[in-house]
Amino acid sequence: MAEPKGFNVKKQHGFTTIAVLCFLLLYTPIILLVLYSFNAGTSIAIWEGFSWRWYISTWGNEQVKEAALLSLWLAIVSSAVATSVAVLAALATTRRAPYKGQTVVFAIINQPLMVPEIVTAVALLIFFALIKNYTGYTGGAYLFIAHSAFCVPFAYMPIRARLQGMDLTLEQAASDLYGTPLRVFRKVTLPLLWPGILAGAMLAFVISLDDVVITEFVKAAGQDTLPTYMLGQLRRVVTPEVNAISTVLLAISVTMVIVYFILNQRKN
């Protein structure tokens, strides 16, 4: 058999070397971070043997517990809100004939992906300061509002992709068979959209869990999520406790990705 013609990146000299280098660069720091979370000593640079010490001390740390709870709560609420909004936005932008200003609407929905995060953060800070000024409310809800908003495009992307790949005649067939628009949505669109919704929600969840910049600007006094708590710790004394928290966050993210793949696999 003749070699297929054309450019094949895998056949280039040094391809393997570069690939291995990239993977090393990506994963060595993470592997080290996980490794040092089990360090018996107090240093994050000198290995002194294996222990669960930092996990135990983290578990006992009230501040960490509080931050973790807020992080989880925040991620759950904001991913739920963002996903609901994203489903509606995706339906509105795909279930209709092409229209003028399509690109603009798309850009507006995806604003948080395009505007630098620090700009969004500052803008939110100023905007919320204004509201605080008029209403006097300075509580923790601002954080939830901010997270819900910037998670929308992350939830929107996979849902939109799924909707675009969905055969329109299925919904027409359902309405032809006496399904009212609401029941067509419940019985046909939603079940078929489910993998996309799940993917969107998980992405939004992880993005919210992970956010530092916007959270740092918007959070109320004394309010801390895990990432902002860690940032605060790093400014003072760095202990492997930070590694332990990071490892747990990592574990959560990886688990979500695996669960998502398993769910998707079973659908097909």
Binding site: L170, Q172, A173, D176, L177, Y178, T180, R183, L192
Partner: protein, 359 residues
């Protein structure tokens, strides 16, 4: 009874506007197997979707048993569709697919179960009731789509080229089955196809469409033997075209003086022929051999090719002015007159068999 009255459909607007239906009027009778036949892009699907309610006509009206359908959304029309790509719900089993319409109509569970069982029986899919739709073959999917559309007992069933994805043998089988289902259920079938043979063999009546218009409506016999326009004659079966001038009228028939010489008595088209100069359509199997230049010969020609086809023999002739002419004879044992390559032959067309075309 479906009355489609002056329906037009324009897609887009301005420079990109496209007229997919141009002033279409037709009445489809109760319990009829009605076929829309035409080449790709002529507007068959658009007309079907207008009846189903997936697109609103730009003008004109659609009535079912006197009730105006245009204002009703698809889910309020007693009309079901078998989609070209079946559109079965992939997240449901075969039985759930078939029961979907009844479920949407809020029928009691027991009734749904009974009807689904009956439908499964009807399309011979009972053993596969609990399969996913992705786990059955194309022909089986087609039958499920049919059962799903029939289960709610619609007044009208719309079928958009439902057999086009099937192989020849399966298609033949399904044609018989569809016809049987239509007889048994008494439901009006509106069937779309671009296969003329399928249309001729299955339909009570056929509407031939071209370029967003309906050209002719009639029984298969009507359409085949008495095409009103050149397009219809050309699209369905093989036809010879002879030009001439009208020389006189005798009741239902016209006497036409042919340009090649000789006269032919042919049926008048519906409506008035456009002028003196007309085209006459003659089917190859409606012509016979006779002695050249004899009194009974309509025209005279020379055999340029003979093709043996088993049941028939196909003769290619050239008339005296060079016009090609095809003649087809059945190969019966008692067939007498025959012709060989290069023979000079007379061609006889019985009076009233040929058809004068409208254009």
């Amino acid at each position: 009874m479906i009355e489609i009255d002056s329906v037009s459909k324009v897609f887009g607007s301005g420079a990109t506007a496209f007229t997919a239906l141009n002033d279409v009027s037709v009445t489809i009778r109760e319990n009829e197997f009605f076929t829309l036949l035409g080449p790709s892009g002529c507007g068959k699907t658009t007309l079907l979707r207008t009846i189903a309610g997936f697109n609103a006509p730009s003008s004109g009206s659609v009535r079912l048993d006197g009730e105006d359908l245009v204002a009703l959304p698809p889910y309020k029309r007693p009309v079901n569709t078998v989609f070209q790509n079946y559109a079965l719900f992939p997240h449901m089993t075969v039985a759930e697919n078939i029961g979907f319409g009844l479920d949407m109509l809020n029928r009691p569970k027991s009734e749904i179960k009974a009807t689904v069982a009956e439908m499964l029986e009807l399309v011979q899919m009972t053993p596969m009731a609990d399969r996913r739709t992705s786990e059955i073959s194309g022909g089986q999917q087609q039958r499920v789509a049919l059962a799903r559309a029939l289960a709610p007992r619609p007044k009208v069933l719309l079928l958009d080229e439902p057999l086009s994805a099937l192989d020849y043998k399966l298609r033949k089988g399904m044609q018989v089955e569809l016809k049987r289902l239509q007889n048994e259920t008494g439901i009006t079938f509106v069937f779309v196809t671009h296969d003329q043979e399928e249309a001729l063999s299955m339909s009570d009546r056929i509407a031939v469409m071209s370029n967003s218009r309906i050209l002719q409506v009639g029984s298969p016999h009507d359409i085949y033997d008495h095409p009103a326009e050149r397009f219809v004659a050309e699209f369905i079966g093989e036809t010879n075209f002879l030009t001439g001038k009208i020389a006189g009228q005798e009741g239902e028939t016209l006497r036409v003086a042919l340009d090649v010489g000789g006269e032919i008595i042919a049926r008048q088209p519906p409506g008035d022929p456009a002028g003196q100069a007309v085209t006459v359509a003659v089917r190859p199997e409606h012509a016979h051999f006779c002695a050249p230049d004899s009194a009974e010969a309509t025209v005279t020609g020379e055999v340029s090719n003979v093709v043996y086809l088993g049941t028939d023999t196909h003769f290619h002739l050239v008339l005296s002015d060079g016009t090609p002419f095809a003649l087809r004879l059945q190969n019966t044992p008692e067939r007498a007159a025959d012709a060989k390559l290069g023979d000079r032959v007379g061609i006889r067309v019985a009076p009233g068999v040929a058809q004068v075309l409208r254009d």
